[in-house]
Assembly symmetry: C3
Homo-oligomer: 273 residues x 3
């Protein structure tokens, strides 16, 4: 099921416009290159929409938003919508400040996103305006586990339907849904949260998968989520006793570089909810 | 003595607000994660103070300051002061431009910092307005060695008393003082200066140690300085003949990821001056 | 021929001012440190020219230009010209947006650059105003290969003469020329394009080589291009079956850290056109 999704990325090599944070931009770029896509980062309002028009997909990430990049996000997002190109929103830290919450909500209103990729705290902020987030990480109560899976899935599906987006909510367990169908994904390991920006990287990767697989957004987003988690699992097996989160960071990207469509197909660990 | 300092960081997992440069932000984030803390980077004036209020500590780094982030630094620093949260200043390149020198001096006047972490050239600029800095590195004359240690320590203590901050001045030998007591720390190796941002990383780490150890700022700052230097020493032993400064960069963070409180206690190489 | 160029960098340790993008700034800094130079990044218009005046060389990179950094680029570039310091332009993405194209052209008009380092699509945009670029990468038709080498070399030489700059145009084959003499360089491997910012890194490296070798800009620029390509070749031989583009990224910098002047001399693969 997911095999063709990665094949399409490797064949089409989509150019992805990222308006993202300066903390993890390098990793997002190298991860896109690892999957066969090409990155371009451009966040000045004067060029943002023009760059989007060149690209097959767009990823908007609020990690280090500022008064100059927010108008760039809006302009780029609207242009993507006009051109029918897939756009992904990663509302990093929604709930942590009014600027982040309001920017995320405004983007959701004004841009026809294909997908929103976030954690459960951020999703709740967008859905209800309240949150138990801890900075840019999900609050303890918002980690998706076997115990709260059914409840979380209902919430995410409702959000997806209401905003007409694919919602890809990640945590110990991931949920990807188009509002009708929902997949629960169990790829990934806890140590991934010790590497800054694995979520940001996944959002950029999702944009690449969506761009290369038009008309199949649920499958494309789910494939990206499985691929990222699977790379974490595989990279973890490579860790020596001296390797820590910095080497793990590199190994995750290295692993995607070598991931084959068949490897993704076999390693994807999901079920339909 | 330092064991409890690291234990507290690992247990409390303090969230640290970093207003820092885009060159080393990723390393600062991964180093914070390696020690058990959580990073958040946010530098727009509209949200800076609000993010600080969410966090246990603040690190302000002038590495790539600009007209937009300077007001964010001031707002965040003042809020940290109002809330009694520890704030660290890293006056990167003070002395290299008027903007850097004046911003550092203004921050020192207006923000009740808990600690200033810098090299001796930067400290002299803040103390006297003059410098022999070479860009963002200490000038040759300002490297702290056995020869100038007593003189440097007197200068740093004086600065510390005058500004009522912990001063953590690093170089071939490090000095950490609260103005009364001073520690001289001999952890670390020269090759650390071939990795960009080890100073920035230490400043963020200091904020995490201060946040997790309220009421013990001298011990907390000194523990952070020892930990960073010790990670450099340990990481260096892992270098193969092909590894250079880029692999060393990852190994330093990896080493902190595995550093135990007992390991820090045993490896800390300091004396009371 | 190139041996002395690297020796001079290692002996003089030039301080290089980079106004560059936030995606690859960390790699540019670590690469400069690896070759023995020192980096400083500073992009606020208020301090840019002042920082340039402290430095032995300047590198201006349009990777994530914005309305604030463009004036900083102009001010820094003009100051470098007044002081007779070498300045390098890397017109990342010229042709991808009007802002990039116009900024690159304006910089070329107003700043007396010593060298322009770019790909063939970017060069054509600067020369003719048109392009077949794919985002920040050269378009397929603009990859320099044996087939189009003579034609490309003529174009690059013409550009070099017209703008009185060393032109260093990289691709599968690299061309470096002062408008009279031209070198064709065959160091480097395709996998380098799977690491974000190898071009940016080369531009910073070129500034360091120019700064340490005044009066020999063609040799200095060509030595930098050979060094970068050679590091890619050598780093590639170190890759295990699990290593991908992220480990390769570190190995390239590691390799430069260990590159000797003799090693560069022996490994340089070039011919006079």
């Amino acid at each position: 099921m997911f095999k063709e999704m990665l094949e399409a990325v490797r064949q089409q090599r989509p150019l992805i416009h990222n308006i993202t944070n300066y903390v993890t931009a390098n990793d997002c770029a190298n991860l896109l290159l690892a999957c066969g896509a090409s990155p371009i980062m451009a966040d000045d309002p004067e060029e943002a929409a023009e760059i989007t028009a060149l690209c097959a997909g767009l990823c908007i990430n609020l990690g280090t938003l500022n008064h100059s990049t927010v108008p760039a996000m809006l302009a780029a997002g609207k242009r993507a919508g006009e051109l029918g190109r897939p756009a992904v929103l990663d509302p990093v830290g929604a709930g942590a400040s009014r600027l982040r919450t309001e920017t995320a909500l405004r983007l959701l209103r004004e841009v026809p996103f294909t997908a929103v990729r976030c954690n459960l705290s951020e999703l709740k902020t967008l859905a209800y305006g309240s949150t138990t987030a801890k900075g840019v990480d999900a609050g303890e109560a918002d980690r998706i586990t076997e115990e709260n899976l059914a409840h979380a899935a209902a919430l995410v599906k409702d959000f997806s339907r209401r905003h007409r987006v694919i919602a890809a909510v990640t945590g110990p367990i991931d949920i990807v849904t188009d509002g009708e169908r929902a997949l629960c994904i169990r790829n990934g390991i806890p140590m991934m949260s010790a590497v800054t920006g694995t979520g940001c990287q996944l959002s950029s990767l999702t944009a690449a998968f969506l761009a290369a697989n038009p008309g199949q957004p649920l499958k494309a987003a789910a494939a990206a989520v499985c691929a990222m988690g699977l790379c974490g699992e595989t990279a973890c097996r490579r860790l020596t006793g001296q390797d820590g989160n910095a080497s793990f960071r590199s190994y995750i990207i290295d692993t995607l570089y070598h991931l084959t469509p068949d490897g993704l197909e076999k390693g994807a660990n999901y079920e339909v909810l």
